[in-house]
């Protein structure tokens, strides 16, 4: 690919944000789905691309209950391997939010295709960027949810992205996954995409009360990056109950929080229970706090992008 073509790709893909960490279960999907959902809720047109054969993004967006996520990965496979126009597998999963989904069969097939083609064609690394290029203009934000492994998928994602966000938990394994992602980032910048920027590291899943652990984690992140790293000020709290409820019900956290019962409803349920009726477990009010964390970090992400765009 010549440099003009690359420049053309870059200018159209100026708002592509990848969420990655080399460790599984580091909240890549939870964070990316909630950021995308909030952005769409604010009125932006948003595209989410799930690049993980596990297809968890479909769960967060509520597509699994009636098997709507079957073959979700076909459109991306077709777009890359057969050069068809990329059409979101699930347009309008929310107002303003389109999804290009993933599934084990198609997304694994895509990995094989990339494995074979990246060896013989150095432009194959831009396969995702090229697939996104013709439709990118329709979106204000494109979010890529990366798998923890699958080097080929991660490489094409980093070649298409403008920004990388690394979520990490406090434990050493997650921090190691962050370092691995940092190495992939450096390699991608050197070889495939000099415009790629680390927008920030998000410390996630740390209890609000664990102040010391929060500080230690932020310090550990800085150390990993040689002293100074962009770390988001908002730490997404550990809140397993609303996080599980959200995924199991196919709701984003800001949607779940609207089901938190009001005070009056809470007392009504209490009365019912006291009177011996069976009452379904209510949505925990912690959903409100978790939703506020996601709103906070999304605002920071937006501000970081706005700052770079203003400077450009």
């Amino acid at each position: 690919m010549d440099s003009q073509e690359l420049d053309a790709l870059r200018s159209v893909l100026s708002r592509v944000v990848a969420f990655g960490n080399g460790k599984g279960g580091s909240l890549k999907t939870t964070l990316s789905s909630n950021v995308a959902g909030l952005a769409a809720d604010s009125g932006m047109r948003v595209l989410v691309v799930d690049l993980d054969p596990q297809g968890n993004m479909s769960e967060d967006l509520g597509l699994t209950q009636v098997g709507q996520d079957k073959d979700a990965g076909e459109s991306l496979y077709e777009a890359i391997a057969r050069r068809k126009t990329l059409v979101p597998s699930h347009p309008n999963v929310r107002e303003n939010l389109d999804l290009v989904g993933a599934d084990s069969t198609n997304t694994e097939a895509l990995v094989s295709w990339l494995q074979a083609n990246m060896l013989r064609d150095e432009d194959a690394v831009y396969a995702l960027a090229r697939a996104l290029q013709p439709i990118a203009d329709q979106y204000s934000l494109i979010v890529l949810d990366l798998p923890p492994g699958q080097e080929q998928l991660i490489r094409v994602a980093l070649a298409a992205a403008r920004y990388l966000i690394i979520p990490t938990q406090a434990d050493i394994s997650s921090l190691k996954g962050m370092e691995l992602m940092g190495q992939r980032f450096a390699k991608a910048r050197a070889n495939d995409n000099p415009d790629l920027e680390l927008l920030g590291v998000a410390a996630v899943c740390i209890p609000e009360a664990a102040k010391v652990l929060r500080n230690e984690t932020v310090a550990a992140i800085h150390r990993s990056f040689g002293g100074e790293a962009p770390v988001f000020g908002t730490i997404v709290r550990h809140a397993a109950v609303p996080a599980t409820d959200a995924r199991n019900r196919g709701l984003l956290v800001h949607e779940l929080e609207t089901f938190v019962p009001s005070q009056a409803e809470t007392f009504a349920r209490l009365r019912q229970r006291a009177a011996g009726s069976q009452v379904e477990r209510a949505v925990s009010s912690t959903a409100v706090k978790l939703a506020s964390d996601f709103a906070g970090i999304t605002e920071e992400i937006f501000a970081a992008i706005a700052k770079r765009e203003a400077a450009a």
Binding site: V12, S14, T85, P91, D137, S140, V260, S285, V288, A295
Partner: protein, 206 residues
């Protein structure tokens, strides 16, 4: 003490309300922080004529759900004024232009561009058809509705195909030539001109 113990009214009823009820909208600040249109996209030159012609509107009026996905509607596109802003640098600067064509034609274009660029294929098609004196005819032909079926289908959905975007990185001088030809032959839009020239090439291969 004989003073009466004040009644236990508890907390005022609304005091804890905000613990249970979330604020109106979590995303309400986001719009103020980041504009919907990134600056890079504001540099894109529109493929439509400044005054929307009949077909430019047909291009923008989606006939199927798929088409909504492949062709943005006018309202979702950035302001045309912003999009027309030139790239910095040089009198013959490069600009991104977007043209719309059926997916099948884009496939053909991609294949034809192997070893060169899509822009080159487009420009040489226009050049060749114009030099053969066939451009007017090709434009007229491309505008005829398909009457082979039971119903007359709108242009953009002919044969079930939908128009997709193709972005071309062109010099200002290229764009001027294309636009001059658009006026010369009263083509409905730049996209219509490009589609006609490519269709002519597709069907008149030597």
């Amino acid at each position: 003490m004989n003073e009466k113990l004040p009644p236990s009214g508890g907390l005022p009823p609304r005091h804890l309300e905000q613990v249970f009820t979330p604020p109106a909208k979590r995303s309400e600040n986001l719009q103020r922080i980041l504009s919907a249109v990134p600056p890079a996209k504001a540099r894109v030159v529109p493929a439509q004529d400044p005054a929307p012609s009949v077909e430019a509107e047909a291009d923008a009026a989606p006939a199927t759900i798929e088409e909504v996905k492949t062709e943005p509607t006018e309202s979702s596109r950035p302001d045309p004024v912003d999009r027309a802003a030139p790239l910095p640098g040089g009198s013959d600067a490069r600009k991104m232009i977007i043209v719309y064509m059926p997916a099948s034609q884009r496939e053909w274009l991609r294949k034809a561009a192997v070893g060169s660029t899509q822009l080159y294929v487009v420009l040489s098609a226009v050049d060749q058809v114009e030099r053969a004196g066939k451009l007017a005819e090709a434009i007229a032909k491309a505008q005829q509705p398909d009457t082979s079926g039971l119903f007359v289908l709108p242009q953009t959905t002919r044969g079930g195909s939908t128009n997709v975007q193709v972005s071309l990185w062109a010099l200002e001088s290229h764009i001027k030539v294309l636009d001059d030809l658009v006026s010369k032959y009263a083509a409905p839009s730049r996209s219509a001109l490009v589609r006609a020239a490519l269709a002519y090439k597709q069907h008149h291969r030597h």
